[in-house]
Symmetry: C3
Subunit: 467 residues, 3 copies
């Protein structure tokens, strides 16, 4: 690692003052802003006893906490263990994958509570938070974790924090446009989280293009056990995705339905992923990269429509298609994107989030446009699409059009935002590593010093250990 | 791996067309059958608003989703992470353990939704599904994961899919006989899941007996970190087993009671397992195989009786006994089964599922037979055993007899079904590996190519890395 | 390992009869005591149908099971996977970390159900248990897991069982004094679990001081993958801590509030930990020890006050401070404690539990003292602090004083109890390993025999494998 550190020095990757300063200043800002703005919502405030009586609630069970807390915890696991471990597949970047994901998500959720709070939970000068805000903050950060997947191994922790600050801000603006101005439905975030997050990250990695990245090519692969660590991330994302897509749906049948649709879509996605993974290999062997990633596309692709009456077989179809598209993406698109468009996408988020996210947006638009009072029931129809107040006169067709518009807005926000933020991250002040030191934990982390020699000596029975 | 691949060729383990074809055809069939048959149940349908009013429900909380969804997610984790990682203990079969478990479970839950749906949720030509169906589908697949444990490392993914198709079918028939015809209680599935699944798998592995399996003996052991991966599976199964046994019990006290009984049984099981693991070793050292597996026997053994008034001390007794039986099984029975009965049981499912499953069935029969109105209360007694309608006149003794009959039926179904399915899997068309290539991921998976040389060079400070 | 075993023999670490005897005798005692004392509480008993009618409950949802079971499962994961894997960071003590934690926790929860039951759930000669008892048993065992962190790698499993027996007993006494006699609030256990558990463990490790521990210094570090295993523990503790602090709070707003406060505190803690970890390193690199541990201090430090009106920004402040204190502790205090006070603290529990626990107690006292009817509402104020019955006249100031007294009592109990138990554990009959064999699984576990040679040969392409 002598060479590595020498090179690191050359690019000055020393974080000693920059990282602490940024963390402490930002946390200080969070404290001040939370102090000024953030308070407990009615259901988390000690005044709730009185509130309950006023609202004629007879049971503590009516507190939103009990409707959403189990889903919240599942989503929380997806963000921190799911995304964190999914990215540990690289042989020498496990600390960075789990650790930087931890850092950016912990910062991001604070900033997201503020940004989303100003847009959605602002009353009398205060942001009133409850469990739904926590879920939404996790969702917002999910889009940053996705973008992180594209630049994994190539940026400094400071760059990640800067990206998080901007991306959370833009996410909240985009979300506000979609949900409030366009009155679009997107409970599982196919558009707001996946499409936006993925194209944002792909634009950033395009701007940060590193022509000499093949210098660290030997570290871009996995080892046997790093692939197993990554499977922990995969499975937690896969298992808890029904909670993700149903977490903020309406109470009752909508949450129930979202979970079922997502369960079905994901199950189908595994089969088509396995099929294409084997088919596209001369010897018919399965590729862990596909299993780790493309099996999840089914969750992304029903993000918008899961709470609608997509029906179980509709979900199977969507899941099947997205598994195929995603696996094809890993085999054909990713190399193309890198060689022709100079988009270096470490985790292949284009295949796991961008394309399935687009599918999800389109499926959502179609499902909304096809909705009828017959299928939903009179009341269910109004409730499902919230066709009340100024939206009373919206028809399914118009709603479908607005859903489609939501995709376009998300794409535009992602490209524009990604270009600007990519430009900022290109400034030579953030301590990024040289190309030959990418995908290497030793640059930003204390890596167990004695491993090499130690393991070697432990494993070599013929050679006495030297001090 | 040159030799390995050569041999693999000899047996033609190439999955390139067979696996994709099977996955795609079956997924296609699922889509058609779901399209014809599967719809949302009332609580997941958008018409629920109207339904709610008709049923006089005042709160969305009354939706079954909120009674069962947290348990469902725990069960889901058990099936995919629990069983998947439990089987990663082999040094070179981690991809197969986690990956094939993922494949067969994802297929199995779809087929189980249909099979169980036709038997239990069929109304006016449609299968109406809700969260309870998702749990039951996971349960059904659990029995396949158990059987997979017996043949782990010795079959091709195609064989696993074929087995899953048949086993899910037979499981559903057996379950129907027990629950509907015999009116047996088995909420945690000691009989339907564990006894049936384990003896089915043991019969299959008997039929698939490989006389030359010692050729891959060097790969049948674990390495240090593979044992730690397996402990992830163990702990998730252990921790979430109270959810498994209570997931489909009646609302209220029955779910509550099931969780407590299971918690107690599992705690006791850990102590007796540790005791016997140490005692049966000359040097008194603990064996990870026992800790990874026998500690779970307590959950299996209260599967039938957990929702009954087994009482906490009854649970401790059952858990203690099953830990002892299971550990003794690993030390004495497994070698005996292999050498005398030619039953090669990779994960020792005879010790973890078969014997504890039988104990569970018997304990359930005894607990049912011993039930009194005094212990359960007049209403509780009727509710606990569902002694209504045509079963109004059943006495505890008769119920105990039917419970015992349920064990016998499960065994017969397992032996007969396992023999037939084993025969089908013996056909030389499924691409199974040669004996010397068993327990080796390289046959069906792309394994990180550079690992050997890479790790070697990384660990050998004295030798420069050669290209 | 020849030498290791020789030395082990010299100290007679053979567990063959001692460990089984202790496990079986104690499990037998549990069965007898459970048989005499433990019964299902009303909500888990089959009589609940009648109870429900008497209490005028209209829905099964009112069963406490549905208010607390999801949190219970999260806490369960923290105890077994969280603490278990957090301690796997040592390169050769993963089996002991996960396995002994499993053993002591499984025993401890049974004994805790009895001890806490006698103090809190005893009616007409019976202990009546429900889901809240399960949570409290897990909590109690949590304090033992904490203490285990101080002596990790240096004790035999028998010593751990002895310690668990005594510590659970003392914990229950201390808890009774605090909650019942002093009428102190401590839902997340800053005082009862963390302060008590940590200072108890530190006192024990002080008594068991090993002057020659540097003989096993080579095994006190981590390797790359052991650090990733430890991160599984870290993340599960971090993610589920909101459930930990809210699990036994009052239904409704109190549980809701506890979760939000904890979420905020933990998020802030990650940022200050990262900041100080980088700042205190010459090259500004992050240290996995800090990330694995100090990031959790924020959960400990809001343990007492999370259910109070601490407010989100108050939580950010507490979390920020505790991250800083904890990281400083790892860099400066731990070496000091070892060299000057002869306190060998393997996992650094002084930094993760002791100091943050004290902060938590103090913050709780201040938050209680600062409470006003204005902030809580008239009813909320009474409910939050349970100022009813004989405590009707307590003022916030007096409550603050009692809270402070709770810290002092916990410390005294920990020091006194730790000294006595440490003395008992020092007896030369428990089979502890020699200093040079500490932190080595091979003493008490069957470690995969062939690993060394196997891995070596697998990795050495130039050398043919010898038998």
């Amino acid at each position: 690692t002598g060479t590595a550190e020498h090179q690191g020095m050359a690019k000055n990757t020393n974080m000693r003052w920059r990282l602490p300063l940024m963390c402490l200043l930002w946390e200080g800002a969070m404290i001040v802003l939370f102090g000024v703005f953030v308070r407990f919502g009615a259901e988390a405030d000690a005044h709730w006893e009185e509130e309950k009586r006023e609202m004629n609630l007879t049971s503590d069970m009516e507190n939103d906490f009990y409707f959403r807390y189990p889903s919240f915890q599942d989503v929380h696991v997806m963000i921190f263990v799911g995304f964190g471990f999914l990215m540990t597949f690289l042989k020498r970047y496990g600390f960075g994958a789990v650790g930087f994901n931890f850092l950016l998500a912990a910062f991001g959720i604070q900033w997201a509570l503020l940004m989303q709070g100003w847009f959605h939970s602002f009353k009398d000068g205060k942001i009133l938070i409850g469990v739904e805000n926590l879920i939404n903050a996790d969702f917002c950060v999910g889009s940053v974790c996705i973008a992180f997947g594209a630049i994994l191994g190539k940026t400094s922790p400071i760059q990640l924090l800067v990206m998080t600050l901007f991306q959370v801000t833009l996410f909240s603006v985009n979300e506000y446009i979609l949900l409030n101005l366009l009155h679009v439905k997107d409970a599982g975030g196919s558009m707001t989280i996946h499409t936006f997050g993925a194209y944002f990250g792909l634009t950033v990695t395009r701007i940060l293009y590193r022509p000499n990245l093949e210098q660290s090519k030997d570290k871009q692969g996995s080892v046997y056990h790093s692939d197993l660590f990554a499977m922990i991330g995969t499975l937690y994302l896969w298992m808890y995705w029904p909670s993700f897509n149903s977490a903020i749906s309406d109470h009752g049948d909508a949450q129930h339905r979202s979970a079922i649709n997502t369960y079905c879509s994901l199950a189908a996605c595994v089969l088509t992923t396995m099929a294409f993974s084997s088919m596209l290999q001369k010897k018919g062997k399965l590729d862990m990269v596909h299993i780790q990633n493309a099996t999840l596309a089914g969750g992304v692709a029903v993000g918008t429509s899961a709470e609608m009456m997509l029906t179980p077989y509709g979900s199977l179809i969507v899941g099947s298609i997205s598994g195929i598209v995603s696996t094809l993406g890993y085999v054909y698109f990713t190399p193309f994107l890198e060689s022709r468009l100079h988009i270096q996408d470490t985790c292949g988020i284009h295949n796991l989030h961008a394309m399935p996210g687009l599918i999800g947006g389109i499926v959502g638009a179609i499902t909304a446009a096809a909705a009828t009072e017959d299928v939903y029931g009179k009341e269910g129809f109004i409730k499902a699409f919230d066709f009340t107040g100024v939206y009373q006169t919206r028809t399914p067709n118009i709603q479908g059009g607005f859903q489609a518009a939501g995709i376009v807005v998300s794409l535009l926000m992602a490209f524009a935002g990604g270009a600007i933020v990519g430009g900022i991250l290109k400034l030579p002040i953030w301590g990024e590593a040289a190309a030959e030191n990418c995908f290497e934990d030793g640059i930003y982390w204390e890596v167990p010093e004695d491993e090499e020699s130690d393991v070697y000596h432990m494993h070599n029975p013929d050679k006495p250990a030297s001090p």
